[in-house]
Symmetry: C2
Subunit: 207 residues, 2 copies
């Protein structure tokens, strides 16, 4: 890596971390792009070299996490219920690790991207839907779930849970522990929802 590339990476990194701390302190809407660039000693234009829109900084945080959640959950040993619980736990960690303000803005952006309000398909948020769908489809293929499992319905249902958790987490003024939440969901609700579609041992044997 050349010195020039190193400097660029460092600049990008500096903008990102400065933005995160400012946003967490003052709230996304109260931080302008100029606030960010001034605070880390670069010009406004530099921001737009690295980020297309102000909002794009939001996705930076969770990006790496997400790409890992899927893979780790597949490799996680256990029943389908345990795998899913693990998936949800990882997802929530990814979304919440940047703090309340970032999570809040992530949800906002995901629900309604500022650059293409109303756009439904293929947006960034679809990422998780697609991955969760693939995850469940594979579970069917691998014989963990029955062939008649309504994958799309379940995906919607699970995403609904995740969005609900996120929303509550980033709105809550009282202590709200995502891990405890996921735990309760996995223990009480997940089995009820999946029960009709989980193969018994005998069924699994028959294939």
């Amino acid at each position: 890596m050349t010195k020039r590339q190193e400097n660029a990476q460092e600049t990008r990194r500096r903008i990102y971390t400065t933005a995160c701390s400012l946003i967490e302190k003052k709230g996304f809407a109260n931080v302008s792009v100029e606030d960010i660039t001034r605070a880390c000693g670069v010009a406004k234009g530099t921001f737009y070299v690295y980020f297309k829109r102000k909002e794009e900084i939001i996705f930076e945080c969770c990006k790496e996490w997400f790409s890992d959640v899927d893979r780790k959950a597949r490799e996680h040993n256990g029943t389908i219920v345990e795998k899913l619980a693990f998936y949800f736990k990882g997802f929530m960690e990814g979304v919440t690790c940047g703090g309340v303000e970032l999570c809040r803005q992530w949800v906002r952006e995901v629900i309604n991207p500022a650059d293409s309000p109303g756009e439904m398909c293929g947006g960034k948020y679809a990422y998780d839907h697609r991955h969760l769908t693939g995850f469940l489809n594979d579970a069917v293929k691998d014989g963990l779930l029955k062939k008649n499992t309504p994958v799309d319905t379940l995906v919607h249902l699970f995403m609904s849970e995740l969005y609900g958790m996120m929303t509550c987490w980033c709105m809550s003024d009282t202590k709200f522990d995502p891990e405890e939440w996921v735990g309760r969901f996995a223990k009480l609700q997940l089995p009820t929802l999946l029960e009709p579609y989980i193969k018994t041992h005998a069924e699994a044997q028959r294939g």
Copy 2:
């Protein structure tokens, strides 16, 4: 009512309906206040006579609905599970009756009000929390639920469900039926969650 008051009411109504249809067509972010006022033949300033902020138009839609949901659910005959299912159904109707774009913006506004980002307590969204809390507290008082019911946790949990449902509904490109959703939740999950706190007939007799 004088003619002047009638005109004013009519103007307000016109602004509101025009706004709704424009927002539903083009998306909230793509509709400026001037778009709205131009489309219904009034000046920009007039908008601000009736609405404090652009975003305030969002709450207009669901306002009446919400004020009714609580009352109706209390009067609704049935078990606590049935009452809650009724409550959720009314809530979702109120939120969804204005169309996808309005619901989308409602969720955004509720998560992070544009006029006071990060404000937690006493905001408009707290409305539902408070009412749901009161609803469950009364259920405890009336002997429908046990004394040790963790009302706050349940409220969070239920609001989480509602936010999840809303989010999915206004993001979904496929058919998503809130009523079916509430139905499933009420049938599969609600009983599991409430079961430890529902008084048996014998317990209820004892008081």
